[in-house]
């Protein structure tokens, strides 16, 4: 299958390893990945912060670039949710067919065992957008359970927000950090050495605190785990 990758601006600039992992994974599964070079941002931050005029222009631009692809895959649940639920209100048209990565794997390709090997104890944090806006359900967990060597830790209060919230992380930094502190406490309590999610922005927030605390727990996007094979480590 020919798949257009929408990598997201955050991943393009800060976490290219997530984009590389998606490319490796999909190519390993026998699919052709194309990268639309004009892509930038879906406008999520502008939308959620209240800059709807700017978001409208970015949504229109997104539709112009991706409208001609049959299948678009993104490793960001919050961007997928933005395209699906917000773009139609901004452009007045049907949005391009964007699938969040785990939806694409489980629903479109019908695979849960992607042949990954990742011998670590992993805690999975279901981000709010993946859970409530995208409705990913247990797809990420089904994919993780099929990874060889991986031990899935049971994260208490997993469905509670990590406190990132885009601009909230700066505008209400103290509350944001208090929420991250509780998330970090729960993650550390599991004994996991890896925290995984399907949104790198939430991982930047919780992972930033895990790193500050020298916790020994690293934040890893689910795509990196699914892409990992031989050495048993994700590409960093």
């Amino acid at each position: 299958m020919r798949v257009a990758l929408f990598v997201s601006c955050v991943n393009d600039a800060l976490y290219p390893r997530t984009g590389r992992a998606v490319v490796r994974l999909l190519e390993r599964l026998g699919h052709e990945v194309v990268f639309e070079p004009g892509q930038t941002c879906c406008g999520q931050t502008h939308w959620t912060t209240g800059y709807h005029r700017e978001a409208e222009a970015l949504a229109a631009r997104f539709a112009g670039l991706f409208g001609r692809y049959e299948t678009v895959v993104t490793p960001s649940a919050s961007c997928a949710a933005t395209v699906r639920t917000v773009h139609p209100r901004l452009t007045g048209g049907a949005p391009p067919p964007v699938h969040e990565l785990t939806e694409f794997l489980v629903d479109v390709l019908g695979v849960t065992d992607v042949g990954a090997y990742f011998p670590h104890r992993v805690a999975y944090h279901p981000t709010c957008h993946s859970l409530r806006a995208c409705g990913l359900g247990d797809r990420p967990l089904r994919l993780l359970r099929a990874v060889r060597g991986l031990e899935l830790a049971d994260l208490p209060r997993a469905e509670e927000c990590c406190g990132f919230g885009g601009a909230f992380a700066l505008k209400n930094a103290d509350t944001s950090v208090a929420m991250a502190a509780d998330k970090v406490r729960h993650v550390r309590g599991t004994g996991a050495d890896v925290l995984c999610a399907v949104d790198d922005s939430c991982l930047a927030h919780v992972g930033g605190m895990l790193s500050r605390l020298r916790s020994g727990v690293r934040a890893v996007h689910l795509a990196q785990i699914l892409a990992a094979t031989g050495s048993g480590d994700e590409e960093r």
Binding site: D12, A13, L14, P16, H46, G50, G163, F164, G208
Partner: protein, 379 residues
């Protein structure tokens, strides 16, 4: 909730009947007034908090009293009843905690309400304490202050609402529900007054997206699940705390003042509140809508706010491939120079906006190449 079959249907029914009441509010309120009067009560209309408190003070005086007992409720708090009456020389005793003798002797009681039934003129109150119920039947004069959005069309709608109300906070039913309709000779208060309060609600109705907030039936389920409220508590909010307060207070009071404007931003938009709201208020959606109203009101300022300038610049960069790629290169060059490639630990002390992040969280170590640079290199 799990033990109740048809929870989703019940929520939809609650949503629909509240919407019907709000969209036909004028006829609903006229019907309510007619029924209250028919049952022997009197209806007073108050445009704002001061008018409502003034009506209550006047009624208390007419009854020849210089003290009243208040059953505190969100609406009596909203109009600042205790302070207004005290300023008018009328002593206010809160029902909770007052000695029983005082309650027994109370000539005038001021209460709130949960629902007002247009069809019958019935007032419904959910009083958690015995004292509260006692106060509703013993005084000579009962004054109920309620918001105009609390009206529901029919008595049978209570069958839906009274099931929705407690379930969302994990109870099976409210332990005490009191209902009264006007007055009745020889039983209960001799006089009943209903003060209907607008205080910004009509303005909220004009906003097609924002008005869904007026569906709120005050169950506090959104407070119970809100991770922000869990950590900050009541104090940062106005009269109405939590997620629903964050969407109602700025609409009722106006979104331009700094405090009101800040409320819609005090959320991560996690959506836990919308999941549990028994009348399906899309709280995150309304928060985003109000954020846009705040931003729009600020666009009119002669000098753009720093945030507006930043967001415009970002949108401009994102709007064109070449500008975007230039911005990426700049980001990498400058952060690389500042940190020596070691992320935030290599950075000098950050202040301002970035400092709010780095106070407790490391910044990610920037990669050597963006994704698109890597993509180009492998072709």
């Amino acid at each position: 909730m799990a033990e109740l079959p048809g929870w989703e249907e019940l929520r939809r029914a609650g949503e629909a009947l509240k919407d019907r009441a709000l969209l036909d509010l004028d006829t609903m309120l006229e019907r309510l007034e007619a029924e209250v009067v028919r049952a022997g009560g009197t209806v007073h209309w108050a445009r704002d908090a001061a008018e409502a408190a003034g009506v209550v003070a006047l009624l208390a005086r007419e009854a020849g009293r210089d003290e009243v007992v208040e059953l505190p409720s969100p609406v009596t708090r909203e109009i600042g009843l205790a302070a207004s009456l005290a300023a008018a020389g009328i002593a206010v005793h809160e029902a909770a905690g007052s000695p029983r003798e005082r309650l027994l002797a109370a000539g005038t009681v001021v209460s709130g309400a949960r629902f007002l039934v247009a069809e019958t003129g019935t007032v419904v109150a959910l009083e958690p304490e015995e004292e509260g119920r006692m106060c509703l039947v013993l005084p000579e004069t009962l004054i109920t202050v309620a918001g105009i959005e609390q009206v529901v069309p029919r008595l049978r709608d209570l069958g839906v609402l009274l099931q929705l109300l407690p379930r969302s906070s994990g109870e099976r039913m409210s332990p005490h529900a009191a209902m009264w309709t006007g007055t009745r000779p020889g039983d209960g208060p001799r006089e009943f007054h209903l003060v209907l309060l607008d205080n910004g609600r009509t303005a909220v109705l004009k906003d097609e997206t924002g008005r869904a907030a007026l569906r709120c039936i005050g169950c506090s389920a959104c407070l119970d699940v809100c991770p922000v409220y869990e950590r900050v508590g009541d104090r940062p909010y106005g009269d109405l705390p939590g997620p629903v307060g964050a969407i109602l207070t700025p609409q009722l009071r106006g979104i331009e003042p700094a405090y009101e404007a800040s409320l819609p931003f005090a959320s991560t938009l996690c959506g836990a509140c919308a999941d549990v709201c028994p009348v399906r208020i899309d709280i995150p959606g309304i928060l985003v809508h109000l954020r846009a109203r705040v931003v729009e009101s600020r666009r009119r300022r002669p000098v753009p706010t720093p945030e507006l300038a930043l967001m415009r610049a970002a949108a401009r960069a994102m709007g064109d491939r070449r500008r975007y790629e230039r911005a990426l290169r700049r980001l990498h060059r400058w952060s690389g120079l500042l940190s020596g490639g070691r992320g935030v630990r290599g950075l000098p002390v950050l202040s301002g906006l970035a400092g709010r992040w780095t106070d407790a969280r490391d910044l990610p170590v920037l990669p050597h190449r963006t994704f698109r640079e890597w993509w180009r290199s492998r072709r």
